[in-house]
Amino acid sequence: MKSLISINDFNKEEMMQVLDLAQKYEADPNCPIFMDKVIACIFFEPSTRTRLSFETAASRLGARVVGFASLSATSIAKGESLKDTIKMVSNYADMIVMRHPLDGAARYASEIAGCPVINAGDGANQHPTQTLLDMYSIRKTQGTLENLSITMVGDLKYGRTVHSLLQAMSHFNPRFHFVSCPELEIPWEYKHFLDSRNIPYTQHNVLEGQIRDTDILYMTRIQQERFQDPMEFEKVRNLMSLDASMLTETRPNLRILHPLPRVNEIATDVDERPEAYYFDQARNGVYTRMGIITYLMNQ
């Protein structure tokens, strides 16, 4: 029995197997191979995209979906512990998909549950299915995961998708460019991680001028609550924002990714450009999650 809690739970080969399954499901999305299975989607905090994407993936695989989308209608509101909730749910379901506001909650749940657990986001820690769908999008648009130049922009300090993608792509000989304000710089442990693997990276404070040699431009949202001074937030946001006028002299294979939701770090005039891939990226989430469910169910 295997769970997916952190992107490090999968080695390179396992990641590739999931991406191959996702590719198969994109070609033929209706494959009811798990009609005898029940998947519990338990979301201890609100989520639209991830929850619907998982529920769609489970439904397309023929599984029945049970669960909850908020705490108010559950026994947790009566003071039930996470341990008791997970024990109970794992008695009912063949797999648990869970999101929780606390870091490490998914790992803890996987140690209690008698069935595989998929982490759909645990606080600020990990969101591995987002990483796999990012990788699927990268492979689909570039034809490969190897030797790519990846520019990551925005909240590189707290952005869990940035950290997980960086770890996952380290298997594929990448080059990274990090664009952020000093307050939201990539943490030292990730720089240490890259140094230890001899993966080259550069750091910048302004997005303008950093796009030319990029294959993948990975934009992220900067949250206003990270800044005490609203003026400072406005200044930083302007330096990290992308608009269509900046997309000149770029590589023909350049694609722009964003884990969504976007606020205004990507101007809407970019949406119509051929480089914009963020909405297709979100659609890839269903196929990738079908691939993950299939891989873990078959372990």
Partner: protein
């Protein structure tokens, strides 16, 4: 003429002497090893002179011998500690403590949003040495805690 160094803490016949404990960490070591419980006969000295540490503490425990895994738990607070195994007033073995690769139930995770600080979960860390010193990576929230920020969980 035979001169014998006068011991500041009296000798034991059989048992374990834990030497080279930093002076300020004596009570942490007692707590980590659970020595305050169990009715052990024990003497200790603190703020003793030490060539290695400046000042040190020492604990002598009669008729007590430790498993290696148990005693290595004190490496977090007393990395230079030496265990002398005593049989019939003689040191029959000297052991250095080593930092274990995994530390369970001993240290609190520094991340206030970690599940271990909200549910009754036994903490678990993977240790590694970096140029900045010892770092503990939480098995649950995956955040790293540096040695200088370690908080020992009290057993009392």
């Amino acid at each position: 003429m035979e001169t014998k160094k006068k011991l500041k803490v009296s000798a034991i016949r059989n048992g374990t002497v834990i030497d080279r404990i930093p002076a300020g960490e004596l009570f942490h070591v007692i707590e980590i090893l659970g020595l305050a419980k169990g009715g052990l006969q024990m003497t200790f000295g603190t703020n003793l002179e030490s060539k290695v540490l400046g000042t040190k503490s020492i604990i002598k425990i009669t008729d007590k011998f430790f498993e290696e895994d148990d005693v290595n738990r004190i490496a977090l607070v007393a990395p230079d500690a030496v265990l002398n195994i005593i049989k019939e007033y003689k040191v029959v073995e000297k052991r250095r403590v080593v930092i274990p690769s995994e530390i369970c139930g001993l240290v609190r995770c520094l991340n206030p949003r970690c599940i271990t600080n909200h549910e009754p979960v036994r903490t678990r860390f993977i240790t590694s040495m970096t140029p900045e010193g010892l770092v503990l990576r939480c098995h649950y929230c995956e955040k790293e805690t540096e040695q200088k920020n370690l908080q020992i969980i009290s057993n009392n």
